[in-house]
Amino acid sequence: MSVDVLLPSPVPVRFVAEDGTAVQPPTGYQVPAEERLLEGFRRMVVGRRFDRQATALTKQGRLAVYPSSRGQEACQIAGVLALREDDWLFPTYRDSVALVSRGLDPVEVLTLLRGGWHCGYDPVATRVAPQCTPLATQTIHAVGMADALRRKGEDGVVMAFIGDGGTSEGDFHEALNYAAVLGAPVVFFVQNNKYAISVPLAKQSAAPALAYKGIGYGIRSEQVDGNDLVAVLSVLDAAVEHARTGGGPFLVEAHTYRMDPHTNADDATRYRDRQEVERWEAADPLARLETYLRERGVLTADAVDAAHEAAEKFAAQVRQDLNADPEADPFELFEHVFAEATPQLREQRALLASELED
């Protein structure tokens, strides 16, 4: 394979400038259909509202912890829009907005974060792997799943989400290499939000851009303005198409920013200043898309209002659904260790039963 074709664009692909005006994208990328952009807008509105709601729920003690993705909505939503229903998604803990946007039940999505039984949704039914905490580990699973789809003759694609920090883990390297050698239909989608908890990108990597990692594995790669939904969707469309049609894996780096602290428990003032955050407010993905779509006459004021109304309804429902405490049967502790409990687990269950009788 030629070397040049593997290298990303030297600057992030962009379709829409920060002020919402259209700019000339590099050749080879299409503007996605208007209907998809509108859908993207609506979902971003709901996604952001959901995110805000989730953060609020931590303050009320209804969620144990919540890692916000405010500012990353263009990535979260484009990732979902680029996939078909029968494609698989391998998310991290920060990708709740993407999951909700894919149609998963918000209560199920938030189960982990409210202290309920680990993964709350059905990975097989939803084709969404459990939200992954050990960083980068899920990227290899994604490769295995992609290889499984290929083996079964399905034309599904797998998208693995990962953060900038996660790319430093050895598992990410192994995943890229395995994907390339196997020619697996997997898209690695790096949301480079510039921080790994408190560690800024400059301490994470000295690469010109993370997308330049692709060539070292023979993987095509691209970097994109992660706060420009039009660009992210266009690039992910191309990446997914590449993978689906037998081109092998694809690496996309989206440059974005984590507007909120790492989680509600984090104190971001310890490691970054207000000015930096404010600079990124100007690059807000939602405002940008709204301006762009309105200026092109695609989005009406009514449609914007409708989107916000839908978002409020959605948030209200989430609030209500999370009002009840998660239920939990202590004996379930012993149910899911193995398909059939060992004698030792049965004894331990009996011990717990005797304690609960007391």
Partner: protein
């Protein structure tokens, strides 16, 4: 019944599993055309093609992680870690994912996969090639841990492991790869997972062993018999699930127990066995449960491994300390050594 070496029996098990179930995949480092450094996968790529038995890039977390993804996608991977210590790079994948995926997903995903690990020493291997790593896995909830000591068990336990709905860490004692035994492949055998085998009956004391120390236990029992001492030998076969019933019945009968393991002793499987036995057989015990293990040292260089490895003499010394003669001798254990 045919006579096979343990490596051949394992090879036969893989072959039969590949033949019977399309979902079975074999992969790892050098398992393809080379047939594995111990030839356990010999001929499989040739017979089943590169899609069913293949070499991976050199990365153990990658091998295990790939297997997790393939198992999530409906396959039944049987993977090889080339040597014990070279499974450590995959430890996170094993401990945080292989062991937990069923649990994390509330039972919605099961993970039928087998991680084959040639382990332990006694073959003159250089550093990092002789670790006894079974305790790391046995201590990790969600993993079954299996280790055969005979060719027949190698065949059947591997078949059972591949058929199991849960992940199995399949530990192959390297130094038994070439030891031959009758194998009943084809002719389905009874005992499955969680059943220990009483390899020799005896009245005076029970030797509990697994994997590489089973032949040591048998040798010790032979020697003891010549001295008029009648030892029972129990081979665990599976460490997880553990067969309390067989071990407890034996010790309650004999009243004495020596546990034999090749691994360093501290917090090893032998400690678990000793703890369980005294919990369950306290009133039957005429002496403390003793352990014969490797020393608490990194695996030594080949020239010194014979000093490290538990052998029949060390086992017999322990048996001698089982207070048959009403003269307790715990000095070497309890006192400060010089």
């Amino acid at each position: 019944m045919t006579t096979l070496s343990m490596a051949q029996a394992l090879n036969a098990a893989l072959r039969d599993a590949l033949r019977e179930d399309d979902r079975v995949l074999v992969f790892g480092e050098d398992v393809g055309p080379l047939g594995g450094v111990f030839r356990v996968t010999d001929g499989l790529t040739k017979e089943f093609g590169e899609q069913r038995c293949f070499d991976t890039p050199l990365a153990e977390a990658g091998i295990v992680g790939l297997a997790v993804g393939l198992a999530m996608g409906g396959f039944r991977p049987v993977i090889e870690m080339q040597f014990d210590a070279f499974a450590y790079p995959a430890f996170e994948q094993i401990a945080s994912h292989v062991a937990k995926l069923r649990n994390r997903t509330r039972g919605r995903l099961s993970l039928p996969m087998v991680i084959r690990i040639p382990y332990a020493g006694g073959i003159g291997g250089v550093e990092h090639h002789c670790d006894s790593s079974e305790a790391y896995y046995a201590h990790t909830p969600g993993l079954k841990v299996v280790t055969p000591a005979t060719a027949d068990d190698a065949y059947w336990l591997l078949r059972d492991a591949i058929a199991d709905p849960d992940p199995v860490v399949f530990m192959e004692p390297k130094r038994l790869y070439w030891s031959k035994g009758e194998t009943s492949a084809g002719d389905r055998r009874a005992a499955g997972f969680g059943r220990a085998a009483v390899l020799r009956e005896g009245r005076d004391a029970t030797l509990v062993a697994y994997g590489p120390t089973v032949p040591v236990a048998l040798e010790a029992a032979e020697a003891a018999a010549r001295d008029g001492r009648d030892l029972e030998v129990v081979d665990l076969r599976t460490i997880v699930p553990f067969d309390d019933a067989t071990v407890v019945a034996s010790v309650r009968k004999t009243g004495r127990c020596v546990v034999i393991q090749e691994a360093q002793g501290f917090a090893g499987v032998g400690a678990e066995i000793a703890a369980r036995v005294q919990e369950r057989c306290f009133h039957s015990l005429a002496a403390p449960v003793l352990r014969v293990t490797g020393f608490d040292i990194p695996y030594p260089p080949p020239i010194l491994e014979h000093s490290h490895l538990p052998d029949a003499d060390r086992v017999l010394d322990a048996v001698d300390r089982l207070q048959f003669d009403d003269e307790p001798d715990l000095l070497h254990l309890a006192g400060e050594a010089s």
